[in-house]
């Protein structure tokens, strides 16, 4: 009997050693908050967050390669976004399963939202331009933003940083260093496939206030539906002054998105009241390449009509410096939108400083991930 106990202890130690090795190998390569859950004898489930890559497909592929010589069990990935698990992806075929209750319990028990992460400093440029005005053909504004995000609790984080103006011929802002758009953000999936992003803070486009995003997105389906809403006002921060307007702008936009059966194209139809309180609709066609997204759109609201394009990609090179507790990197998602109509603000949305829910979840769609893996 004693022998059995001893061998069992060794076996458990061995198992524990194995999962610790998995955690260490992945952490060293930039993965964070790695948790290994044993699922039966021949399968492990690995929870992880990877902030450097834009597409979870790349982080799962990377993790699989890293663990090639470490362990030989079947792997199920449970990638986290903003310290909350998204779902389960089989490492072999990227089949998706929604989170189970058991997954959530395990995650809540083992989640180390403080210790599991490095301090990340993220560099991203903020670029605004307007062309076509006769007196000044190119009006541009370039700031460099250095920000960080700290987790305060499961799914709850605070993001803040500094904004360093580089060049400005667009507006009357002075050139002092000031607070970058900063927010308190909660990301959660209370019921499988129902995602929420709620934030309070200062955003781009000089807006501050409340922002709510909800999305029903079964990640193996072609369809998803969402709501983006908020109550915002203007604010202005300069190096030495601070001013806010009333929280008087309400926006609520609902959308339905369909993933076309070819070439990773998605068609999104949005309608509602946009951030300048203009009412109307917008159609987006989005092509995903993995690290890069391209989009075309057309919109019509009661203030006017416009069309344009947008793109988003991870800035080169990604991670610049990484140690046990610190990481300096370029942004995983730089986004820019061009509107042909440069007179009326038609169907606009402000940027939050973190990618919008629809743009994040589109990356986690299992159909998309499978198409990249082929």
């Amino acid at each position: 009997m004693r022998k059995i106990w001893i061998s069992l202890c060794f076996f458990l130690l061995f198992l524990n050693g194995r999962s610790q090795e998995v955690e260490e190998v992945l952490y060293k390569a930039g993965f964070e908050n790695v948790m290994v859950k044993s699922e039966g004898e021949d399968t492990i489930k690995v929870f992880f967050e990877h902030r450097e890559f834009r597409s979870p497909y790349h982080s799962m592929r990377y993790a699989k390669l890293l663990l090639r010589d470490v362990q030989d069990k079947n792997i199920v990935w449970a990638p986290l976004y903003h310290n909350f698990p998204i779902g389960n992806y089989n490492a072999e075929n990227y089949n998706y399963r929604p989170l189970t209750k058991e997954d959530k319990t395990f995650f809540k028990r083992n989640n180390s939202w403080f210790k599991g992460y490095r301090f990340h400093f993220r560099i991203h440029p903020n670029f605004a331009a307007r062309f076509g005005f006769y007196d000044q053909p190119f009006q541009t504004k370039l700031d460099i933003i250095l920000d960080t995000r700290l987790y305060l609790a499961t799914g709850l984080s605070i993001q803040s940083g500094i904004r360093i103006p580089v060049q400005n011929s667009l507006d009357s802002r002075n050139s002092g260093v000031r607070l970058a758009p900063s927010l308190l953000h909660c990301f959660t999936q209370p019921v499988p496939n129902h995602f929420f992003g709620i934030s309070l803070g200062t955003y781009y486009y000089d807006r501050y206030g409340w922002d709510l995003q909800y999305r029903y997105s079964p990640l193996d389906s072609r369809w998803s539906f969402g709501l983006e809403s908020g109550l915002t006002g203007y604010y202005r921060i300069d190096a030495d002054s601070y001013a806010t307007g009333d929280l008087s702008f309400f926006h609520a936009v609902v959308d339905a998105e369909y993933r076309l059966p070819f070439e990773n194209l998605s068609l999104k139809l949005s309608a509602g009241q946009f951030i300048f309180e203009d009412k109307g609709f917008r159609v987006d066609l989005i092509r995903q390449f993995g690290t890069v997204d391209l989009g075309l759109y057309a919109a019509n609201t009661n203030v006017g009509t416009t069309a344009g394009f947008q793109f988003a990609f991870s800035l080169f090179p990604g991670s610049i410096y990484r140690s046990q507790n610190l990481e300096l990197r370029t942004t995983e998602a730089f986004r820019w939108e061009y509107s042909y109509n440069n007179e009326e603000p038609v169907a606009k949305s402000y940027r939050l400083g973190i990618p919008r829910l629809s743009n994040i979840l589109r990356q986690y769609n299992a159909r998309f991930i499978k198409s990249l893996s082929n």
Binding site: A29, G30, E52, F53, R54, H58, R61, Y62, L65, L66, F131, G132, F133, Y134, D135, Q136, P137, F138, F262, E263, L265, L285, R287, F289, G290, T291, V292, L294, L296, T305, A307, F309, F311, S314, F316, P317, G318, S319, Y340
Partner: protein
């Protein structure tokens, strides 16, 4: 002897290579002014710079102040649709007209090239501009031939003689949309620059005797033009050309992939090999 030569040039002797990536001055696959139906499948993003002299600028009348720098971006949205954006900057007029005219257009691949059939592409400029000086709509067919003395790429196309523009004095999109023949634009709208770009039949070919460069020749519906191009790297093409042998111009074009992996992953995979 003649027969031998013919066999020499016959298509289908060797494998056909469709990766022809020379562009015209607007950054679209093509020769000098004219587009072709070639398709850049692997490198979905193109960024092109061209300089055209005043006498052969896309802007009329032919005079020094119309010399133009064209900045273009091509984005391969899907394997059958491409979007192009060009900005035409005339440095000598910048103080008066600003950054210049913007041109947004699409290319649709209607047929892929096969061994016996050319590729066919439809180029379309969405109507909606108040000053469509660069607008052009066309249909073009292209065939690649690989022979023992090098690669050939032939195109024949037709550009629509009609032009759409928005009359700012009228309200509503459809009300203000006007159609005019390109050749009659300057009569009807004296304020406008004339647009005779791709008005009628055009054609061109390129010949690559070596892997790193070749010659182009074309008729662009107005003039005969010829050029040389060098493929410096897979992603960089340099081209110099002459309009009727009277004036010179040049184009730099770059082409990049969009479906790449992040740097850390790429490096790790490279080290594994």
């Amino acid at each position: 002897m003649n027969r031998k030569k013919l066999i020499f040039l016959l298509p289908g002797l060797l494998l056909v290579n469709f990766s022809f990536s020379q562009v015209n001055f607007l950054g679209k696959p093509g020769y000098i002014s004219t587009p072709s139906a070639s398709w850049q499948e692997e490198r979905q993003l193109g960024i092109t710079f061209s300089h055209l002299p005043g006498d052969y600028s896309v802007f009329k009348p032919a005079r020094e102040e119309n010399k133009v720098n064209l900045y273009s971006v091509r984005a391969g949205f899907t394997s059958f649709m491409e979007v192009n954006l060009s900005i035409a900057y005339r440095p000598l007029l910048a103080e008066r007209i600003g950054v210049g005219d913007r041109q947004l257009d699409f290319r649709f691949r209607l047929f892929k090239e096969t061994e016996n059939r050319p590729a066919i592409v439809l180029g379309w400029t969405p109507p909606g501009s108040v000053s469509p000086v660069l607008a052009h709509d066309y249909l073009v067919a292209t065939k690649n031939l690989e022979t023992q003395i090098g690669k050939f790429n032939f195109s024949l196309g037709w550009g629509s003689p009609y032009l759409f523009f928005i009359d700012k004095e009228k309200d509503g999109f459809f009300n203000s949309l006007q159609v005019v023949k390109k050749s009659e634009l300057s009569e009807k709208k004296p304020r406008f620059n004339q647009n005779d770009y791709l008005d009628g039949f055009f054609g061109g070919f390129s010949y690559m005797p070596v892997d790193f460069g070749g010659l182009t020749f074309e008729y662009d519906t107005a003039t005969f033009n010829a050029g040389v191009f060098i493929k410096a790297w897979e992603w960089l093409y340099l081209q110099a050309y002459t309009f009727e042998g009277k004036a010179w111009a040049y184009t730099f074009s770059t082409q990049f992939k969009l479906d790449f992996s992040p740097k850390a992953l790429r490096q790790y995979e490279k080290n594994l090999d």
